[in-house]
C-alpha cells in the first residue's frame, strides 16, 4: 500500500512537471512580448525594458522555467533595491495587471470555486443517484419516464440557460433569493449568507450533472440487478429493499465515486460559465479575465493548478478503489 502510494505520488509529480513545462513553453512561445504586456497606456520603451529585467523575461527560456519552478518552492523576489518586492513561497509569479502575487489571487479565488464545486457535487450526487435508483427500481413505469424527461432537459440545457433562467425568475421576479452584491462570504463567517450566495450556482451546476448521474446510476443499478450474485441474495430470502440498497448499491458505489472525483476535479479547473453568470470571484472567472487581458502569469498558474487537481484526484480515486473493491490490492 505504502509502496503504491509512494510510486503513484512520484509519477503524479513527474506528470505535473511535464505538464508545467509544456504549459510554460506554450505561453512563452506565444507571439507576445510578455514585458510589453506589463505596462498600461503611458508606456515607454524604458519602462518595458526595465520590467523585462525585473521579471526575468530577458533570460533564456529554460532559465525562466527554472526560476518559475524555484519560485514555487522558495518564493521569488523581483527587482533590486528599494523597488524590490517579494512573492513568498509558493509563488506562481507576479501579475502586473493586478499588481499582486499570483498566489494571493489564487488564494482568494480557490475557496470560492471549491465551495461552488463541493456544494454542487453533494447536491447532484443526492439528486442524481436517488433519481437513478428510483428510475431503475420502477423501470419503464412512470417514475422512470419522468426521470428520463429530467435527464433529457438536464443534459440538453446549457448552464448559461438554466443559470440565467434561475437568476431571472428566482432572484429578480420572485425575489426568493436576494441578488448578492456583497460577494462571497466564507461558510464559517456567516453560513446563512454563504448558502444564499451559492444556492443558485449550486442548483445550476447540479442540474446539468445530476442528469448525467441519473442516467449513469440507472444503467449501473439495472446492470447490477441482473448479476448472478443478486439472484443468489434473493435466493437466500433477502428482502428486496436490502437487495437494492445493500447488495446492488455496494457494487454501483465504486464507479460513481470514480465519476464524481473526476467531475469534481474538472470543476475546480473552472466552472467558467457558472462563475461568470453569478459573478462568483472564483478560479474560472479569474482565468477568463486574465485570458482577456493576456495576464499570462495567472493563466499559467490556473492551468497548472487545474492539471494538478486532476492528477491528485486520480491518485485519490485509485487509493479509494483499493478500499472499496476487495479484488483491487495495491
Amino acid at each position: 500500500m505504502l509502496n503504491f502510494v509512494a510510486r503513484r505520488a512520484f509519477f503524479a509529480l513527474m506528470t505535473l512537471l511535464v505538464v508545467s513545462a509544456v504549459v510554460f513553453a506554450i505561453f512563452s512561445l506565444l507571439p507576445f512580448d510578455p514585458a510589453a504586456l506589463t505596462c498600461g497606456q503611458h508606456c515607454t520603451d524604458q519602462i518595458i525594458a526595465g520590467n523585462r529585467i525585473k521579471l526575468g523575461f530577458d533570460k533564456p527560456l529554460y532559465i525562466q522555467y527554472f526560476l518559475f519552478l524555484g519560485g514555487i518552492f522558495l518564493g521569488r523576489s523581483y527587482g533590486t533595491g528599494s523597488a524590490a518586492f517579494t512573492c513568498p513561497a509558493p509563488s506562481f509569479g507576479y501579475s502586473y495587471n493586478e499588481n499582486a502575487c499570483v498566489t494571493d489571487l489564487l488564494r482568494e479565488a480557490l475557496p470560492v470555486t471549491v465551495s461552488l464545486a463541493l456544494g454542487a457535487l453533494i447536491l447532484w450526487l443526492i439528486v442524481g443517484v436517488s433519481l437513478g435508483i428510483i428510475a431503475a427500481r420502477f423501470k419503464n413505469r412512470w417514475p422512470d419516464r419522468l426521470s428520463s424527461v429530467f435527464v433529457l432537459l438536464g443534459t440538453s440545457l446549457p448552464t448559461f440557460v438554466t443559470g440565467l433562467a434561475l437568476l431571472i425568475w428566482v432572484t429578480i421576479k420572485w425575489k426568493l433569493v436576494p441578488l448578492s452584491l456583497v460577494g462571497y462570504t466564507p461558510l464559517i463567517e456567516n453560513p446563512f449568507k454563504f448558502f444564499q450566495f451559492f444556492i443558485l450556482p449550486w442548483i445550476t451546476l447540479a442540474i446539468a450533472y445530476a442528469a448525467l448521474y441519473t442516467r449513469f446510476t440507472r444503467a449501473a443499478v439495472l446492470e447490477t440487478l441482473g448479476e448472478d450474485y443478486i439472484r443468489t441474495a434473493r435466493a437466500k430470502g433477502v428482502k428486496e429493499r436490502t437487495v437494492l440498497f445493500k447488495h446492488t448499491m455496494r457494487a454501483v458505489f465504486a464507479p460513481i465515486i470514480t465519476l464524481a472525483g473526476l467531475d469534481f476535479a474538472g470543476l475546480i479547473g473552472g466552472a467558467i460559465i457558472t462563475e461568470t453568470i453569478f459573478n462568483l470571484p472564483g478560479l474560472g472567472r479569474l482565468t477568463l479575465r486574465s485570458t482577456y487581458e493576456f495576464d499570462l502569469p495567472i493563466v499559467l498558474a490556473t492551468t497548472i493548478l487545474a492539471a494538478a487537481v486532476v492528477i491528485i484526484m486520480n491518485l485519490i480515486i485509485d487509493m479509494l478503489y483499493a478500499v472499496l473493491d476487495p479484488r483491487v490490492r495495491i
Binding site: 448479476e227 437466500k236 430470502g237 433477502v238 428486496e240
Partner: protein
C-alpha cells in the same frame, strides 16, 4: 418417504415483443425426502425456468405462471404460484434453497464469505449475528473447506471455482432446507472437481435428508446421482421415470437421440458423433403437433400425419414410466431395442 414438492401442470410464459414465449408448458413432477430427481434437457428446454419457479424467483409481471407448485414447509403446504411475495421470500433459503450454475459470479465480490453465509441465516433468524457466523464456519467446515474460520474472512476472488461451489452449497444449507434445487451445479467446473461436488452433495443429502431437484444437461451426472428423471424438450416433459428405466429402456425418441449422441470412448476416431439432426424449436411459435416431430426419425411409424397435427400426451403402460409419443409404445419398444444395441 414424505412428499416435499409437487409440481402440477406448471406453465411459465414470458410475454415479449415477438410473442409469448412458453418456456415451461405443463410440467408435473414430485420430489420426496432423501430423493434426487433430475430434470434433463438442452439449453432452452425450460429446465432452469422450472427450477426458478419453485424458488419464486420470476418477476411478477414479467413471467406468467399457472398450475401449482405445492411446497411442504413444516406442516403447511404452500402453493408458490399463488403465494404472496413475502410468503415466498420467507420460504427461500429456509424451506427451499438453490445453488447455481456459475459459482464464479454467484457470490457477491464485495462481501466476505462468512458474512454472505451469515446473511442467509440472519434473514430467517434476525438478530442472531454471532450464532449466524458460528453456523457459517460450521457449514464451511462441513462442505470440506479447510481452516473455515480464516477462510470465512476472505473474499470470493480468493477461492477457486470448486471451492466457491462448496461455499454456495454451504450457503444453501445454512438453514437446513428440506429441498435443494441444484441448477447445473457442476457445469462450470473441471471434471475432477465435478465428481467431488457430486459426492459432497450426496453425502449432505443423507445428512440433511433433503430432496434434491437436480437440473442438468449432463446425462453422466444424472446416471451417477439421480433416482428419477424427467427429460424436457421445448418446455415439456417428454419422458419421466426412474433413472434405470429411462437410461436402459428409453421410450421417447428424443431421449433415445440424447443417449445416442453421448460420445463414447469405444467410438472410432473417424466415426461422427450421432447428433440429433435439426434445431430445437422456437418457444414462441411451437408447432401445433409434437415439438420434436420435425427432428424425429420415427414419425413415419405414427398413424397418418398425427405427429404434425396433434400434441402427444404424457402416457405409459407402466404408470411410473411415462413418455410423449404418438407411435404406439410396443412399436417403439421394438424399434428402440435395435437402436440401443448400437449404443451399447
Amino acid at each position: 418417504m414424505a412428499e416435499l414438492l409437487k409440481i402440477s401442470d406448471l406453465q411459465v410464459a414470458f410475454p415479449t415483443d415477438d410473442g409469448l414465449v412458453r418456456a415451461v408448458d405443463g410440467v408435473s413432477l414430485t420430489l420426496n425426502e432423501g430423493e434426487t430427481v433430475a430434470i434433463v434437457g438442452e439449453s432452452g428446454s425450460g429446465k432452469t425456468v422450472s427450477g426458478l419457479s419453485v424458488m419464486g424467483l420470476h418477476k411478477k409481471g414479467v413471467a406468467q405462471l399457472s398450475g401449482s407448485i405445492m411446497l411442504k414447509d413444516g406442516d403447511r403446504d404452500i402453493d408458490i404460484v399463488t403465494a404472496s411475495d413475502e410468503e415466498i421470500r420467507l420460504l427461500r433459503g429456509r424451506a427451499v434453497a438453490m445453488i447455481f450454475q456459475d459459482p464464479m459470479s454467484s457470490l457477491h465480490p464485495y462481501y466476505r464469505i462468512g458474512n454472505q453465509l451469515a446473511e442467509g441465516y440472519l434473514v430467517h433468524n434476525p438478530g442472531k449475528k454471532k450464532e449466524a457466523l458460528t453456523r457459517a464456519i460450521e457449514m464451511l467446515d462441513l462442505v470440506g473447506i479447510s481452516e473455515p474460520a480464516q477462510r470465512a474472512d476472505e473474499y470470493p476472488h480468493q477461492f477457486s471455482g470448486g471451492m466457491r461451489q462448496r461455499v454456495m452449497i454451504a450457503m444453501a444449507l445454512m438453514n437446513s432446507p428440506r429441498i435443494l434445487i441444484a441448477d447445473e451445479p457442476t457445469t462450470a467446473l473441471d471434471v475432477t472437481v465435478q465428481a467431488q461436488i457430486l459426492i459432497l452433495l450426496a453425502s449432505l443429502q443423507k445428512e440433511f435428508n433433503m430432496g434434491i431437484l437436480l437440473i442438468t444437461h449432463d446425462l453422466g451426472v444424472v446416471a451417477q446421482v439421480a433416482d428419477r428423471v424427467s427429460v424436457m424438450y421445448g418446455g415439456r416433459i417428454v419422458e419421466q421415470g426412474s433413472v434405470d428405466d429411462v437410461f436402459y429402456k428409453p421410450k421417447a425418441p428424443y431421449t433415445l437421440g440424447l443417449l445416442k449422441s453421448v460420445p463414447r470412448i469405444s467410438t472410432h476416431g473417424s466415426d461422427r458423433l450421432k447428433a440429433i439432426p435439426g434445431q430445437p424449436p422456437s418457444l414462441i411459435n411451437l408447432p401445433s403437433g409434437c415439438a420434436f416431430a420435425a427432428r424425429c426419425e420415427f414419425a413415419s411409424h405414427a398413424p397418418g400425419d398425427i405427429c404434425e397435427t396433434d400434441r402427444p400426451e404424457l402416457l405409459g403402460l407402466n404408470p411410473a414410466h411415462l413418455s410423449r409419443c404418438h407411435v404406439s409404445e410396443t412399436v417403439r419398444d421394438q424399434l428402440f431395442i435395435k437402436e440401443l444395441k448400437e449404443v451399447r
